[in-house]
């Protein structure tokens, strides 16, 4: 399995350029697709299929991460900035297991997610639970999570060093979907999104544990009175969110490279997707994630510049929040 990572690196870094510093991964195999089709008359149709296929597969980790973040945000009320480091941790843990034990990517992806989930639970016990017991305010809670994010990010840098690291994997198989080449890793990422989404739906809607989660989300005191164990439920939420973030990180990592800023670069997009899509349910987050992925890809293909696509998206989402926030302005406390 040690035979050819170099070629991937070269290929990727040559195409990525500015993308290296951005919030998203820009992958090698898509670019020839456009070039190949450049002269055709069906350019619009191609743009649409390209955007759909690439957008969905490339941004599957974003949807995955957003689901985890939304779960945590909706059910514990915490905007956890350090969630970005859960993602980064997933990427590093996967890379570490992969390069240390020479394990296949498919074998390490789930353990990486589980490890990230456990670390997520650990941060809950070490920091967020004590903070809640001390009645720390919502605003202070965000700043605490920001502090934790910084601490973990540079802690990782301390351990793994600043240079960008790579997974040691053979080049993934390229599978053609609607004529667009997609790596098998990305299809796996998309598959994980589906599995996790179904799992969460089933979990929250059907099982008694899901009932408890919903009760907890509505009213913790009530939940406690009715014999539900908030601690167990909360731990489970942190774990699931951590697993989702860790998996997303592993997919991000194998798709490009691993660096301390990996998760932080995705954080703003995740936050936007969750806030715009997720006030009500996980379904909204998934839809917002898909729209984001497809729109980003379409605009990137059009502008030839990832950053502009992001700029448009940030502006659009903040305006959506602004418009919606106004309509919901119902203070009612006085």
């Amino acid at each position: 399995m040690n035979d050819c990572p170099i070629s991937i690196i070269v290929m990727q870094s040559s195409v990525r350029g500015a993308g290296q510093q951005t919030l998203m991964n820009h992958d090698a195999e898509h670019v020839p697709t456009l070039a190949r089709r450049a002269g055709r008359e069906t350019a619009l149709m191609d743009l649409i299929t390209d955007s759909l296929v690439i957008g969905l597969t490339e941004h599957a980790p974003l949807i995955l991460a957003a689901m985890g973040f939304a779960l945590l945000y909706r059910l514990t009320g915490l905007l956890n900035v350090a969630y970005s480091e859960t993602i980064t941790l997933g990427a590093y843990l996967g890379m570490w297991v992969n390069t240390t034990y020479g394990l296949n990517f498919y074998a390490i992806v789930l353990p990486a997610g589980i490890l990230a989930g456990l670390i997520s639970v650990a941060t809950y016990f070490a920091i967020f639970r004590p903070a809640k017991n001390r009645n720390v305010g919502v605003l202070e809670m965000i700043i605490i999570s920001f502090g934790l994010s910084i601490l973990l990010r540079h802690g990782l840098q301390f351990i793994f060093g600043y240079p960008v690291r790579f997974y040691n994997v053979p080049p993934p198989n390229t599978i053609f979907v609607l004529g667009v080449g997609v790596s098998s890793f990305r299809l796996l990422a998309l598959g994980s999104v589906l599995v996790l989404a179904l799992l969460l739906f089933w979990f929250i809607q059907r099982t008694t544990f899901g009932l408890q989660i919903r009760a907890l989300a509505t009213d913790e005191d009530l939940a406690q009175v009715s014999g539900i164990r908030p601690l167990a439920v909360t731990v489970l939420i942190w774990f699931l969110a951590g697993v989702a973030g860790g998996l997303a990180g592993a997919f991000y990592g194998v798709g490009s490279s691993v660096a301390p800023l990996l998760g932080w670069r995705q954080f703003l997009l995740i936050l936007l997707v969750v806030l715009v899509g997720g006030a009500k349910n996980i379904g909204g987050v998934i839809i917002a994630g898909i729209v984001t992925g497809v729109a980003l890809t379409a605009m990137t293909l059009q502008f030839g510049q990832v950053l502009w696509a992001q700029l448009v998206l940030i502006a659009a989402f903040v305006i959506i929040l602004k418009v919606r926030g106004r309509r919901m302005a119902d203070t009612g406390k006085v």
Partner: protein, 275 residues
């Protein structure tokens, strides 16, 4: 406004006359529901035809919600709230304005539950209340002394009558906070004063003094006062007119005595043990 009465049999001459310049709040076709449950559904209600009006009803009747709708601190599902005054003939649609504009039109509400600024002292609170927007621009960094000198008389007028343990410090007890809440509102020189359970948590002597003051102001300064209160003694002794609400609707209106003896009120609210 006799046409608005649900039950005109009890509409008698009020104990005190309205001289017409008193501002009135008219609520038309106003509906508010929370999570599908209709909390307030008022066809047409005019408040302020009498100096002091009581608004009573069982828990969950929608009294506090109605007051909040007037203040526009919660949005209306539909309907309008209008402030009009025959004195200058002005008419303002309150339900089209943001909440912070109410005070400028003289519509002010005190709070049922204790509501205070934790970081501000009593004097701070009172100065905040009397400060105008022009005193509060970011560049007016030398304005404090002038504001204090311009307004201290009005503030001391209240501090002399109502004693706080330490007016330069923070409000200590629940009673002080409640009193502070009401004085803050009075300092705004309201034209329409909505009192949401003003006596809860106040010591008896302060309550009597405060209610006496409000009674005075209603008569002398043409202020319209609406009191929501569970202590019915306050309602029966103070109000010139009473509105009875239940299940979000105004069911009865009339003089205190007639409301007090009405079968519906006894059945739905006072209970048969009531004398």
């Amino acid at each position: 406004m006799a046409g608005d009465h649900k039950d005109t049999a009890f509409a008698r001459e009020p104990t005190r006359d309205s001289d017409g310049s008193r501002p009135r709040v008219r609520i038309q076709d106003a509906v508010k529901s929370f999570a599908g449950r209709v909390v307030v559904d008022v066809d047409d209600l005019t408040l302020g035809t009498h100096p002091i009006e009581g608004l009573i009803g069982p828990n969950g009747a929608g009294k506090t919600t109605l007051l909040r709708m007037i203040m526009h601190s919660i949005s209306l599902d539909r309907g309008t709230v209008t402030l009009s005054s025959d004195g200058d003939g002005s008419e303002v649609v309150l339900s089209d304005l943001p909440a912070h504009r109410m005070a400028r039109h003289g519509v002010v509400k005190t709070n049922q539950v204790i509501t205070d600024f934790e970081k501000l002292t009593i004097l701070d609170s009172l100065l905040l209340s009397v400060a105008k927007a022009t005193d509060e621009w970011p560049y007016r960094i030398y304005r404090e002394q002038g504001l204090y000198e311009d307004t201290v008389e009005g503030i001391l007028w209240y501090l002399d009558r109502f004693e706080f343990e330490d007016p330069l410090g923070f409000a200590k007890s629940a009673g002080e906070k409640k009193l502070l809440d009401i004085i803050r509102c009075l300092l705004l020189k309201p034209r329409v004063l909505l009192l949401d359970e003003p006596t809860a948590g106040l010591p008896d002597d302060i309550r009597d003094q405060l209610m006496g003051l409000i009674d005075e102001k209603a008569a002398e300064e043409n202020m319209a006062v609406v009191i929501v209160e569970h202590d019915l003694h306050v309602i029966w002794t103070m109000s010139d007119y009473v509105h009875f609400m239940a299940e979000g609707r105004v069911l009865l209106q009339g003089e205190p005595r007639s409301i007090r003896e009405h079968d519906t009120v006894i059945e739905k609210y006072l209970g048969s043990g009531h004398v």
